[in-house]
Chain length 208, copies 2
């Protein structure tokens, strides 16, 4: 029987919907290889930035061992960079994890937690300056769909997390399984981590 | 003040994660124009096909008026095509809605409910024969990213729902707002409803 890796996804009030559920669509399609756990500080119901609410499977205290730690962005990151309980938990779990992946401004949380010291990383393009301001010890990459540096994967904004997750599946399982997941979801997978037409886009939205 | 349209999203056990949260990412980014309600038969917590659970905002009984009815697919559709309560509710709400949109095998539910009689519609490519078997009165389109026929929008599998939703935002609000949402989410929007490289893809996964 194939060993199933546990994907531990951190939820907090104001998480960005697609940062979480884009990757989980893909990991969930590779169902023989991954088990998904949604984890929040105190467990219970957590509202996304867009409104829809999700149910935590575990609290920080009750969460099982995590093989792949996934950290989303969203407006809630602006509050959580000042939450020492979350930052300490992320740091401890990141050290134990086989692989750590962040989407969008999730990298700002990891940077603030000190997880990305000396690591090449990226973030959402519309909140890039804010992400960079969380740590000078990170080698921030302003143009990238995603960045892989050892066991650390960081993606650009929102939908870039889907491409990154397929790259993670390809690395941990196989290219074939990642390809099958993308095809099943009829998803136009961008396989090149350097493909980034959004590096130069300016938006009237407030940052993520 | 801009009128906010209510997006009513139907949840059932075994809904496909990205069928729901891909579109809601985009509608949620056009936050001045749409309000999101997750609706299930009895309210409460509903588990997706991939595992993660969402919280309903309303039951069928308590749901408010719906401007845009969104129906996802997922393995749960195999059960729900035989649920007369759901089919009757979909039919009644579809008649009242300004616009009706389905993702993936959500179109099979709408076909079975009789909503798509005489309508051009599409569905997931890997479950296409099963979708077609729900009604001979639908003009099924085997090759399309999405199909627009009057107030009815239907998309192909999973991620195609994101492209369709951006087209819906462009129609109901403006192309500019849709473009802003896509850019914010760093999403490579496929604007051509006829773009469909997945029509010929065969997958080893069981159908959605």
């Amino acid at each position: 029987m194939t060993y199933k890796r546990t994907i531990g996804v951190v939820l907090f009030e104001g998480f960005e919907l697609l940062d979480v559920f884009g990757p989980l669509e893909m990991f969930g399609l590779a169902t023989d290889h991954f088990e998904i756990r949604l984890i929040s500080e105190n467990g219970g119901v957590v509202a996304s930035r867009q409104g829809p609410k999700s149910v935590s499977d575990d609290s920080f205290q009750s969460a099982p061992a995590i093989d792949v730690l996934l950290v989303p962005g969203g407006t809630g990151t602006r509050r959580e960079v000042d939450n020492p309980v979350l930052l300490e938990w992320l740091k401890a779990r990141a050290q134990q994890a086989e692989l750590v992946a962040s989407v969008c401004t999730g990298s700002a949380l990891m940077a603030k937690a000190g997880v990305f010291d000396g690591v090449c990383a990226t973030s959402n393009k519309l909140a890039f300056a804010w992400a960079c301001s969380q740590s000078e010890k990170v080698h921030w990459q302003p143009q990238a769909r995603w960045v892989e540096d050892g066991k650390f994967f960081t993606s650009s904004g929102v939908s870039a997390g889907i491409d990154m997750s397929l790259a993670v599946i390809a690395k941990l399982v196989s290219s074939q399984v990642a390809e099958q997941a993308a095809n099943f979801a009829e998803y136009d997978w961008h396989r090149d981590p350097d493909w980034d037409p959004f590096a130069s886009v300016v938006s009237p939205f407030e940052s993520a």
